[in-house]
Amino acid sequence: MLFNSLTFVVFFVVVVTLYWSIASWTLRKNLLVVAGYIFYGAWNPPFAALLFSTTAMDFWLGRQIGKAKDRHAKRRWLVASVCMNLSMLGFFKYGNFLLQNFQWLLARIGIIYQPPHLDILLPVGISFYTFHSLSYTLDIYRGVLQPTKSLRDFILAVSFFPQLVAGPIVRAGDFLPQLVRPQPLRTGQFLWGVAMMTLGLFEKIVLADTLLSGSADRVFGYVGPLVALDSWAGVIAFAGQIFFDFAGYSTCAIGAALTLGFHLKDNFRFPYAAIGFSDFWRRWHISLSTFLRDYLYIPLGGNQVRPFRAALNLVIVMFLGGLWHGAAWTFVVWGLLHGSYLVIERVCRILFEDKAWANNLATRVLAGAATYAAVCIAWVYFRAADFTIASRMLGGMFGQHPHGDAILSTREMLQVALVTVGMISVHWSLRDSNIETAVTRLPRWTVTAAWALMACAIILTQGTSNAFIYFQF
């Protein structure tokens, strides 16, 4: 179920009430397991069985890795876990994509093959829970985690409903320790959790869905050429929409977890105030970027290898990061663009890091603006349904269609401009801080008024239950 739906409101109230009414820690955990499976099964009940089987297999494989005496045996069990998880992901998410590309390859060598279209329904959030589960066996293999003895605890770590379907990607090693001792009910923590949920829903329902998505959808859905102003407005609207959509979900997840006494790490840290692309990836979808860093980039050698190999590692990681987002070449190009950005940044650092001007305010602001612009350009490939749309959009953005159409109303452009300016201002003012610090330092009346205003705006918007963008991943 969606956070922005009436079903979730009722579900959440019931779960939280029951949870805090039960004294037994074991029963509380059982309740959360049941809640997680109801939450997930509310999309498509049979997929709950898939979730359980993945979890149970990784639990068993984790034990085998833990029990294995030597490195080779451990590796064999790890390979089994990785293959099991990735084949599940591959079948459901990339099955048709692989078949289409196979067909295309055969056609290149003159073989006409018409593969059957597999009518595969993508289990919601499979990319997220696969990574939740996989982190367990990977961490046991790496020696930073011992296998848990409790299947129930592991099931709860994977199926904890706030983060189950759209992140943050919570590693078992970050969550399992929280299941050891019962978390006490702290009023401040509970209410701060509710406030964070309000903020998350405000970001999703009001900012992403109401003020930005319309412009982005119209621009990316338009079949003709557009003038530069509309093209840029559409892309900037999408840049804001995807941030508020995904960061909104993460904030809701963190808030919901807090109301139950659990602590999830930040998934976003004001990414549009990033200076450079490595900084951007330390701020955007942190749980994915650190996952890829720890389990892919570093094992590939990270930056402890020759510069060319380190650059190649970056590109490989971003290529796979792009593919993780969706079974389409446009996502791959998006990933490769970010990989290239990271390589260029690394070269620039080597060349200019020692220069005095490289760290002055003007350079930093310019670098921040350039980072934002480059990230927006990459979003074109992320959002466009195909390369034709992407090239038409880029053509519009760079003035190739001076006589193209103008399709956005003044109101829509004002909305995009105001929300974007507001978003970037907040990101820059908080780039070295965090939301908790801001809430602590702001006058009480300002925080109270902002909270009330956000709640009123959510009610006024009435939430049309639009799915979160990241559900499809």
Partner: protein, 386 residues
């Protein structure tokens, strides 16, 4: 003692322990390096929450009272989930109404039940094209019931990718893919929407309120025309009724809506990115394709023993002039009946159906819809050989 913020930052920046064998204390369950605790801002949460709750409740109540004072009343929102609930109640022998808002507002379910012996299931939708629903019923091999299809040519022959088609397609898609959570949300929405006036998804949302701002657009900007404001109520059976404020002769609301229909029913200018002739050819092909697809769907339904009748519902004033000019009967209605071989009822062909006036040019008032339905029943019985 360090502040929680510095502690928080430090925890966030703790290096992960790559490939190092952790000490026993660091292993599961719980060692200091892997533990993480979010800081809680030290503010008076209880007091702030009380103020927020009071403000939000007061603001919501004030907004509700204001909406009621300017003429809004509680009614259900028409969305894909409500439509899906009705679609689920279709049985193989059901009597189903499909099409656009005229088949929605102008039909009284009680009169049809009395006259036709079965309670119809209302699947027509405002601003929607009936074809996707018709095609879906044709695809359903078990269905061999009766279909009353409202035809407003501008909507029924709307090409793929246009809002009327998308509306119909989205509803059908939701019927096939509705999740248990979506269904539950609809049931939870019923009591709320039936008692709260401001819950109007197509009218009183922030988005729609912003659309009302009088901001001038750039010359030549291809901005979609506005949609009409709230003028009807809906019940759980999806029976739509025009509100009295709109039905009152010469009312401001009706006049406002009349002026909204004109741009909505006026064909948009051809796009600039392909030559006009090429565009017109494409549109012609799309309409030709639609005739063919409708014929196929009708044949499928009839081959299983199902029945279908097309109905052109009343419309008046400037909108009638516009429709007669842009979508003349000879190019739309007549070929439709000829190609499908299905019976049709064109309201103006029958004096007892022709005398109705649509207050806002497109739909009948709630009272007239009952009378119109009563008079339509004998024609339906004849057309359907009942």
């Amino acid at each position: 003692m360090r502040s929680f913020i510095s502690n928080f930052k430090e925890r966030l920046r703790l290096p992960r322990l790559f490939f190092r064998q952790p000490s026993r204390a660091e292993q599961i369950h719980g060692g200091p390096p892997l533990e993480f605790e979010r800081p809680i801002p030290p503010v008076p949460w209880r007091g702030m929450t009380v103020i927020v709750v009071v403000v939000v409740v007061a603001a919501t109540a004030a907004w509700e009272l204001y909406c009621r004072s300017i003429g809004y009343g509680p009614t259900l929102n028409d969305n894909e989930d409500l439509w899906t609930l009705r679609r689920r109640s279709v049985t193989p022998e059901s009597l189903v109404i499909v099409g656009d808002s005229r088949g929605w507002y102008d039909v009284d379910l009680d009169e049809f039940q009395k006259g036709l012996g079965k309670r119809p299931i209302q699947l027509a939708m405002g601003g929607g094209c009936g074809y996707p629903v018709l095609a879906d019923l044709a695809k359903d091999e078990s269905f061999h019931g009766t279909i009353i299809c409202s035809v407003t040519p501008r909507l029924f022959f709307a090409p793929p990718g246009t809002p009327p088609m998308e509306r119909g397609e989205k509803a059908v898609k939701r019927f096939h893919n509705q999740t248990p959570a979506q269904r539950a949300s609809q049931y939870l929405a019923f009591p709320l929407e039936e008692h709260v006036a401001f819950l109007k998804q197509e009218e009183l949302t922030l988005d729609n309120l912003l659309k009302r701002l009088p901001t001038p657009n750039r010359p030549g900007a291809l901005v979609p025309p506005r949609l009409p404001p709230y003028f009807g109520t809906l019940d759980r059976e999806r029976r739509a009724r025009m509100i009295e404020e709109c039905a009152r002769p010469g009312s401001e609301l009706a006049k406002r809506i009349q002026q909204i229909w004109i741009p909505l029913f006026t064909p948009p200018p051809p796009p600039t990115y392909i030559p006009k002739e090429q565009f017109m050819t494409k549109i012609g092909e799309a309409i030709g394709g639609r005739f063919h697809d409708i014929t196929t769907a009708v044949e499928k339904i009839r081959s299983r023993g199902g029945k279908i009748v097309f109905v052109r519902f009343p419309h008046s004033g400037g909108l009638k002039e516009l429709e007669d000019r842009e979508t003349p009967r000879a190019k739309t209605w007549d070929p439709l009946l000829k190609m499908t071989g299905a019976p049709g009822i064109y309201y103006s062909d029958f004096p007892e159906l022709a005398g109705f006036n649509c207050p806002e040019w497109s739909h009948l008032s709630a009272g007239d819809s009952v009378e119109f339905s009563k008079r339509l029943v004998p024609h339906l019985r004849a057309a359907l050989k009942m």
